[in-house]
Every structure is written in structure tokens, then in C-alpha cells.
Symmetry: C2
Subunit: 414 residues, 2 copies
């Protein structure tokens, strides 16, 4: 006998993005690939100040083991921040996670059986596919139109209208989506479509995993309320401090349905067990740092407003650069928030095959095919461009290089 790996490892994949990020560390490459927030947006002075206080007043507690749920004051703050007039979240519903990526892993662990059906947008967040894949669900593409995921498809897949007319064993276990400024498309689902999806969740008791890391990064007007606000009994909601404060903290959270929702307490208990088993708890120093920052009077809303302003200027720069430089037969929509443009290159362009040539020209992007469960033909032409890491000047230069690539080697490469 020899080293044998678990069968589930066959379903595991490396993040194409992380592999590409390594490529783009070459000097001179302007990378539109990474989803890295601009480091200028981190409130370092305030964090350093809060850190000094944590060491002075609660260093020993910060270095000790902590509970698995997360610190109660942080859960209280998250519950308050997430709550809306129409959606009251209680601290008991909040589980602090080591980034929202961990929330996805924990949900995969407690919700997904091998072969069970999981409905996902196409394209969808690559990190979610990576988190769920080891639990071997059968991913189902959620049909969509211009408004977003189709609520009737959700109803159909819920087993409500099975061939036999009965609620079937063929029913999906859950659905996953990123409703606001999605990664990779930048698309935000409007209020009417959200209401329709919520109505189907409520009618057919389908579980939705609603992942909302980008909701606060709106440029012109806030996105509609989360779907969880209209279907709280059937939605597990994920959020993160990575995009509004700093990803290096690795602080995310899961909001489970309220106590009275069927199965909610069981789900919550299982998630907590999974959290204990996964890393015991999210580092206490990092949690206390955030709490200290807030109790020092740091105005997170004002801070997020400055991040929005910065990203909006970068978004505008990229919109202008794309308009100015890209060949006519490219297509994209201008995102109203978030961090990404989703661009379809010219007929015959192969984003994946020609990436090395693009890097040679000094520009990088993420090929679109990585974001699909089963990539359709046109996915080869698609790519994700991040506008938040480079400066306005760099964005113009990067898009110029991309345009040369699309009109030159990129096109010839096919």
C-alpha cells in the first residue's frame, strides 16, 4: 500500500486566479487579474492606534483561546450593522468566520452531500466553487436573463413542479448567489427580481446561500436590500470585513435564519461544530482589533464612503479606457459597484490560451472560463478585469496594452 488520497480530491481545483497572480508578480506587468483592494484604502493609522490599545488593555485575552462563535460584542455589532427596518438580525444568529471563504466551506460541510444538487449562477464566484467542490455536490446552472437568476428556474429546481407533480428527491439542496456587484460579472440584481426570488424561496422552502461581500461598494446608489431580508427563514447570509476594512484581518461572518425558522437551531449548532473542528476560533486579536477600532470612534461608514469614491474614480477610468481603446467587437457593461468589469473579447479571441502573450505585453486578466461549472462556447472570449488595485493612470495604460493584445496577438492566437 502507499499514500492514497480521498476520492473528493478529484473534485478539488486550484484557484486559477491565485496561479495567475503568481505570473503577474513579474516586474512591469500591470495586473487587472487580482481582486485585491487598494492598499491605500486600509485605515492603517486608526488600526495601529487600536492595536496599541488592544495590547495595553486586553493583550492576554487576545492571545488566549477564545470561543468558537466569535466574541459576543463583535457578533452584536455585526447583527446591528446587517439589520434593516424589515430584517432584524440577532447576535445569536451570527457566527464569526476566518474570512467569508470559511463561511462557504462550513456551509458546504454541513449542507452538501455527494451528488446533491446545488444551484449556482453562471458564471459564479470561483472561491465558492472551490469551497463547495470537496463536498461533491452536483452543480446545476441557474438559468438567467438580463435581470439575473430566473425565479421560475428556482421553483422548477425546487422540485415543486416535478415530472410526477410531487416534491421530488430530485430537488436541489440549496442555491448560491452573489446578488450585488457579483464576482465576476459586476452585475447587481434589482429589487423586483430579488422579491421574486424571495417569494419562491418562501413558497418552496428552498435554502439560499446569499453571499454579499461587495454590497457596500456601490457607486451611485445602494443596491436593494439583501434577499435574506425578504426570506429570512430560508436564507443563510454571508458577509465580510475584507472589502470594507481589510482582507488581511480574515474576518467574515455567517448569519443563520432566526430561531423560529424550521431547522435553524440545528443548522446553527452544526455550523458551530464545523467551525470548532476547522480552526477552533477566528484569531482573538483580529476580532478585538476591530472592536477596539470601532469603540475608538472610527467611522466605518465614512471610511467606506471614501473607498466607494476611490473605486468609483477607478471604475470611471476603466470605463473610459475600455471605450477609448477596445476594438468595436468587444462587449461589456459598466458595473454600478464592486470591483470588476466583465469583458467579452472579439470573435475568436481565446482569453485563456492567449494569457501568456498578454503577460508578455505587460497586462494580465482572469480568463472567464474559470468561473463556470461548464463553460459555454462564448466563455472563451470572456475575462474579468479588476479596477481597484491599479491607479487611474495605470488603468489607462493596462487597457491600452489589453487593446493591443486583443487587436494583435490575442486575436491572432485563435
Amino acid at each position: 500500500m502507499s499514500l492514497t488520497l480521498a476520492a473528493r480530491t478529484r473534485h478539488m481545483t486550484s484557484s486559477a486566479i491565485r496561479e495567475i497572480l503568481k505570473l503577474t508578480e513579474r516586474p512591469g506587468v500591470l495586473s487587472l487579474a487580482g481582486g485585491l483592494p487598494s492598499p491605500d484604502s486600509f485605515p492603517l493609522d486608526a488600526l495601529a492606534h487600536a492595536s496599541e490599545r488592544v495590547w495595553r488593555t486586553q493583550g492576554a485575552q487576545a492571545m488566549q483561546y477564545a470561543n468558537s462563535e466569535g466574541l459576543m460584542p463583535l457578533r452584536e455589532w455585526i447583527a446591528q450593522r446587517v439589520s434593516l427596518p424589515q430584517w432584524t438580525v440577532r447576535p445569536e444568529q451570527v457566527l464569526v468566520t476566518t474570512g467569508s471563504q470559511q463561511g462557504l466551506d462550513l456551509l458546504g460541510k454541513v449542507l452538501l452531500d455527494p451528488g446533491c444538487k446545488l444551484l449556482v449562477e453562471q458564471p459564479t464566484y470561483l472561491g465558492a466553487l472551490q469551497a463547495f467542490s470537496p463536498y461533491e455536490p452536483a452543480f446545476q446552472a441557474w438559468r438567467a436573463d438580463e435581470q439575473g437568476p430566473d425565479p421560475l428556474d428556482l421553483a422548477r429546481m425546487s422540485g415543486a413542479y416535478g415530472a410526477s407533480g410531487q416534491v421530488g428527491s430530485d430537488a436541489i439542496r440549496a442555491a448560491y448567489l452573489v446578488p450585488s456587484f457579483q464576482n465576476p460579472t459586476g452585475h447587481a440584481i434589482g429589487a423586483p427580481r430579488r422579491a421574486e426570488i424571495a417569494a419562491e424561496l418562501n413558497a418552496h422552502h428552498v435554502t439560499l446561500i446569499e453571499d454579499n461581500p461587495y454590497g457596500e461598494l456601490w457607486f451611485d446608489e445602494p443596491p436593494p436590500a439583501p434577499i435574506a431580508a425578504s426570506a429570512p427563514h430560508h436564507t443563510v447570509y454571508l458577509g465580510s470585513l475584507s472589502k470594507v476594512l481589510a482582507p488581511g484581518l480574515r474576518i467574515g461572518y455567517v448569519v443563520t435564519p432566526p430561531d423560529e425558522a424550521p431547522g435553524a437551531l440545528d443548522l446553527r449548532a452544526r455550523l458551530l461544530q464545523a467551525k470548532q473542528a476547522s480552526d477552533l476560533h477566528t484569531p482573538g486579536f483580529n476580532q478585538r482589533l476591530v472592536l477596539q477600532l470601532l469603540s475608538d470612534g472610527f467611522d466605518l461608514d465614512a471610511h467606506v464612503a471614501t473607498v466607494r469614491q476611490r473605486y468609483k474614480a477607478q471604475r470611471d477610468a476603466m470605463a473610459q479606457a475600455l471605450n477609448h481603446h477596445l476594438p468595436d467587437d468587444c462587449a461589456w457593461q459598466v458595473p454600478q459597484g464592486g470591483m470588476f468589469f466583465w469583458v467579452q473579447g472579439p470573435e475568436g479571441f481565446d482569453a485563456g490560451a492567449s494569457l501568456p502573450a498578454a503577460v508578455e505585453r505587460g497586462v494580465a486578466y482572469v480568463p472567464g472560463a474559470a468561473f463556470y461549472v461548464e463553460a459555454p462556447q462564448q466563455a472563451r472570449r470572456q475575462m474579468r478585469l479588476s479596477f481597484v488595485t491599479l491607479s487611474v493612470e495605470q488603468i489607462h495604460e493596462a487597457v491600452k496594452r489589453l487593446a493591443a493584445h486583443l487587436g494583435g496577438e490575442g486575436r491572432r492566437a485563435c
Copy 2:
């Protein structure tokens, strides 16, 4: 349809210890239950100083996304610290994890299939059982004698001597053990037994998961070299900074076999994918804090020596108190390192059933049954006592209360 949980959740359990810790937060209870290092042992001044420098010189990097492997200088330092004259570990073999608990979860994810056999000591570390259980292995009790786990049982379970005389499909997938100052028993496996186990690993190509959080906490003489040093191709080694620096940092590590070991590169790649999918990366601030502490000239060896001294005094106090107070029909061995005494109470004592009465008396412990896959009859009498959290005076008082419990209600409770 309604909320359905994954079948694997049936195998998930909450940590009895964490539930008990909640009980013992009542004022006046002296808890011997927790495995919490003494907070006085955290080098807070040095950490605060290092933290200030991290913010000043690399704050933006510390708050940004980082790579999943861990920071290379930290992997280099770990490789160097783990290496021995007879065992060279290269930085590429090191994966930084969010505590060594995460290492166990990742290994479960990439190594264990439902129903595959995993050999574990009895009793064994509860957190390992929790980490592995969701992957649904068939735990097999590793027969042991006074020297520790039986190498012949390992050989037998490897399938080398199957009924059919062939290497069988019945073979274990891997074995797990804590060789030095085990949790919960405090037992350290001696050099001859380690050599015998290593020989069987090498002969039958069995994979060992060697978990060594306590190895540096020796009181009289260091434990023998890890088994990995004698069977590097067949051992995945886990370590942690939790016990030598501070658990709140959540920094652990996995050392995979060297490149030339069969399957090593594949295992390493899968572990890295699992790490990406689980939390993207261990918080960068925490990693940089440790690196800064070390490059500031902090002498970790000298620090660990003071921790050893402190724990030894506490161990001595507990040994004395147990001798002095406990009824004659109790049994224990004095551990030569680590954090725990493993005590067998009098005939008829039920550690689990009588715990609430003990807490009423103002003392808490962890009942032994929790540490078994299948608890034998005598497990009911066993309990784990930690000596590292309470002061010498408190230890005496706690053991006095425990003795009263064992001689009083505890005994009557059966």
C-alpha cells in the same frame, strides 16, 4: 421540501470540553478542565513591541490578501526550527495553517474517504476526532501497551498480514498519534517504541499523522525525536505556536514528506487547494507579528524554558496535591511534560454523571469518555486534569475539592 443537512453532520460532535468550559465560567469554580495555557506565559511586551513595528513598516502588506502557503520567511523559520541533524525539513514542505486544528481538518479533507480505516490511540485528542469525523472514516482503536501504541498492530492493520496473506483493501488509510505528552493522558512514547513504529511505517508504507503540539513542554528531559525524523517519507507532521507562544495567534503548520517521497507532491498540492478553499490564507498580520518578534531578537528558546519551568512547578504542585488528597483507590501517572494528568477515580465513580455535582463543589474536569472512539468500561472512572491554568495555590484547593467530590457525592453518585 425543507432544510436538509448533510449526512456527515450525523458524525459531527460538539467538543465536550468547550461545553464544559462554559459551565466553569461560573464564579468560584476552579477549573481543571480547560487546556488553556497560563496567560502569564504570553510575552505580551515583546509582542506589543513587534506589533508596533509591523504597523509602522508593513501595515499595508499585513492587511492585504496573502498567499495560501504562508509567508516564505515564516515557512523558512519553521523548517529550520523543526529540522534535526537526522531530519532536514525544507520550507517547501511547510504549510502554515490557522492553528494546527486546521491542519487536522485539511488532512481529513484530502486523506479520508467515508468508511476508510483510520488508526487512532485510545484515548486520543478529542479535537482530532472532531476534525476527522465529518469525513466519516471508520476509526480503529490502536492497541497499546505500557510503552504506547503497538507497532505490530500497526503492521497488522496495514494489511501486510491480511487473512488472505495479501496487502488488502482492508488496510488502514492512515494512523494518527500524539507522541509526546499526549492529550489527554500526558504519556510520552519512548525512543525504542518510536523506532519500532517508524520501522513499520517504512516497511509497510503506512501514512502517519504525527501531531506534536506539546513536544517542547518537557520538564526533565526533551522527548525523543519525532517519528517523522525516522520515517520522513511516510509521516505528515503537525506543529503549533499555540503552546510555546500564544494560542490566540492561531498559527500552526503541517510538514509534508519531502519531494522525493511517493505521492508527496500530490499531497502537498491537494493540501494547498484545501487550504485555499477553507480560508484563503492564515491572517497576514499574525504571521508578520511572529516574524517581527523573532527578527527583533526575541529568544523563543529562552521563553519556552520559562514556560517549562512554570508548568513544571504546577505539575509538581498537582502531583503533590493528588498524592496528599486523593483516595487510595485512585490511579494516575506523573506526566513528564505537557499540560495534563490523566486520573482514574475510585471503583464505581462516574466522571461524566457526577460532573455537575463537582461543579457545585467548585471544581471542574473533563470526563475521560469523551476522548475515546468507543469508551471502555473503565473510561467512566477517568478524567483529564489540566495543571497549567491555575496557580499552585489554586491547584491545591482544586484537588482538595476534587478529593471531597471523589470521596463524597462523586462516589455516592454511582
